[in-house]
Symmetry: C2
Subunit: 404 residues, 2 copies
């Protein structure tokens, strides 16, 4: 498998685009994105577990109940959530786009991101559709990735090439993240495309399995959004024998999907609202997989640890504290902790108690942009990783005044 360019347009038959249609006031910011497959694709999606669900999720869920879709439209600037007429607006978006593209409204995936509880006007979307469809092209991934950004500071796109049954397949994805990021069973907005042929059952299985170790292990602020959604479209144009059971081909597909997803997780966490650092907590030696995951997620979610990392302060007691309240079954007297970055690794805690270490060396390590928090539980064979970011002044600034 190798990393390639092109994002969601890397796979055969996919084009994308993004325009400014007027949902956002800033005219230089694209606010409407489109991804299109030249042929109908197998589709799978996962959604937020938040009981308050964005209207677009409800409509999308209905539309891809048959395991098929051909395009994805997404606006930024308004979440279309907690609005009395939200579903109507989402349905109308699908109908209008379907008519323009000559596909059924039922083959449209619709998504929204932005402020909750402000009515979404259909007018800018309706008026922007001609320009949006005209913008579709094989080099349009960057424009689509821009169209779904909110407080994100960088576009998030990735693609890989892999082989299934002797055929070269491609898979790519884009994502938006930044704030309200603490996905549970689904995540922020992630759109993945592939030309690999795969049955809708196996696509669903692949997606639902992988997100447990990828997007569900990311947290920026502990808030699970109302609009989280990951969608994969697989159009089969690679010509491989359809993957319809477990085995070597499915394993190759899972590896590609995991590579795309881990890559997007790191981008989302590293570009968390206000973040200056990407944090990865790597847990090893857990009694069970569940323990490893609970510990990793608890550490990455600790506000106190996140603030310490912002200050490059090796305050490892906060790591122990977060493990202790996680609810996971661990032996606190066996826990080792180390901090690691491009500048090296430093052990700070052994068997649950502090060890002497150089504060100077620790500071040098923690001043880097990517920090690994290494937790050894010395209690079994399971491991896990979780991704997050530091807690900064800018997180407070961004969220103290988001709507204005």
């Amino acid at each position: 498998m190798k990393m390639i360019e092109g994002g969601v347009c890397a796979a055969q038959g996919f084009t994308a685009g993004g325009v400014h249609c007027g949902i956002r006031k800033n005219r230089s910011k694209r606010d409407l994105a489109l991804i299109y497959s030249s042929v109908p694709a197998t589709a799978a999606a996962v959604y937020t577990t938040n009981l308050v669900k964005g209207a677009p999720l409800i409509v999308t869920k209905k539309n891809i109940a048959d395991g098929k879709a051909q395009c994805i439209i997404c606006n930024s600037g308004n979440a279309n959530t907690c609005n009395a007429n939200g579903e109507e607006i989402a349905e109308e978006t699908c109908a209008l786009l379907g008519a323009k593209l000559g596909v059924s409204a039922k083959d449209v995936v619709v998504a929204s991101t932005g402020v909750i509880g402000q009515p979404l006007d259909i007018a800018p979307i309706k008026n922007g559709l001609n320009a949006l469809v005209a913008d579709l092209s094989e080099d349009g991934c960057a424009r689509a990735a821009e169209g779904i950004m909110t407080t994100d500071t960088v576009k998030k796109e990735v693609a890989v090439e892999f082989v299934v049954g002797g055929k070269t397949c491609k898979m790519g994805g884009i994502a938006k993240g930044s704030g309200m990021i603490h996905p549970n069973m689904a995540t922020m907005l992630v759109f993945i495309t592939t030309d690999c042929a795969i049955s809708s059952e196996m696509l669903d299985k692949a997606l639902k399995g992988d997100i447990q170790d990828t997007f569900n292990m990311v947290s920026v602020d502990g808030d699970t959004s109302t609009n989280d959604m990951v969608v994969v479209l697989a159009n089969g144009l690679a010509g491989n024998k359809v993957i319809d059971k477990e085995g070597e081909d499915f394993a190759a597909f899972m590896t590609a999907l995991n590579t795309i997803n881990v890559s997007l997780c790191r981008m989302i966490a590293g570009d968390g609202e206000g973040a200056t650092k990407l944090l990865e907590c790597k847990v090893t030696g857990a009694k069970t997989k569940a323990v490893a995951k609970t510990v990793a997620k608890s550490v990455i979610c600790s506000s106190l640890l996140k603030a310490a990392m912002f200050g490059a302060d090796a305050n490892w007691g906060r790591v122990l504290c977060a493990i202790g309240y996680s609810g996971a079954d661990v032996d606190v007297n066996k826990i080792d902790v180390a901090f690691s970055s491009a500048k090296g690794t430093i052990e700070v805690c052994k068997n649950g108690s502090g060890v002497d270490f150089s504060e100077e060396k620790a500071k040098e390590i923690l001043l880097e942009k990517e920090i690994d928090i290494l937790v050894g539980l010395n209690d079994g064979e399971f491991d896990s990783a979780a991704w997050g970011c530091d807690l900064t002044y800018d997180y407070v600034r961004i969220n103290g005044d988001y709507r204005t």
Copy 2:
């Protein structure tokens, strides 16, 4: 029942004091506090559920297993947690203090708060004991309250007078809070004294019952400390008939205890690290008590809502979002939300959707120091409250550089 002065010294037979002994470098900061009852007292305590527990908690638990104690010693500046010799140090503290006061080491409650994972030297404690005991007086509550402060900016003390079986009883408490505040089954450090006569069984029952609706409903940052502890000493000097069963007397005791605890909760939340505002989420109309509590706690814990409150931004979508991911069984289409303060009340959401409201009026309300977030679930008869604070630049500053 009426509010009175005196804190933990309000009840008959209790004296307190606080000195600087040298655990903290800043010589103007008291770092050692003592509360003493002239006669042995009935004692009850609750502790953190964090698996990583401070050594003092382990020693205290052993010491009050017989339901008796006579004094409380607490240092700030060092949590005495995750240290190989932590229990030895805590035991030695009890032995040294017991010898000075002429009480058994087993009747000493010991507590610590501060940085985790740094060895605690016995020398400053040993050297400070004479001055500490000499400082005991009936007006010493403020000095004891200062001695347990870490990043707290204000002392937290309260006292009430109440009647049990025709006898006037008094009860008072002090607390430290500020950061790493998200108690679970116990809380930060809270020391309560009363001269009411009550059996250890009923005292234990009163405390364990009340904290579920008081301290366990406070969150500053979602981090459950390793050293949380609430201790009550009841020395019986009020002369009332010993409370040894449920009934009118126990109810009067519970009301007094709840008043003390709610009062301290509000002080702790309002003085959360970096806080500029006290937030109270009042939930009504829940299907069950558990639903009401889960919703209130989830709203008060949302980083996004906390930041919005800092910015006086009526971003009620974040309230809905936090209710939705709380895991509580609610009907999202019945939820009403309003913001309230000394400047008035403004309804922002009705039946799960936004209503038109004056942003100007909302801003005026949210610029106050104490904000109520009113959530009507319209789904039953149960209610609950939770306390927290806003998320500010200062929280990040304080915790980005805590150890140095």
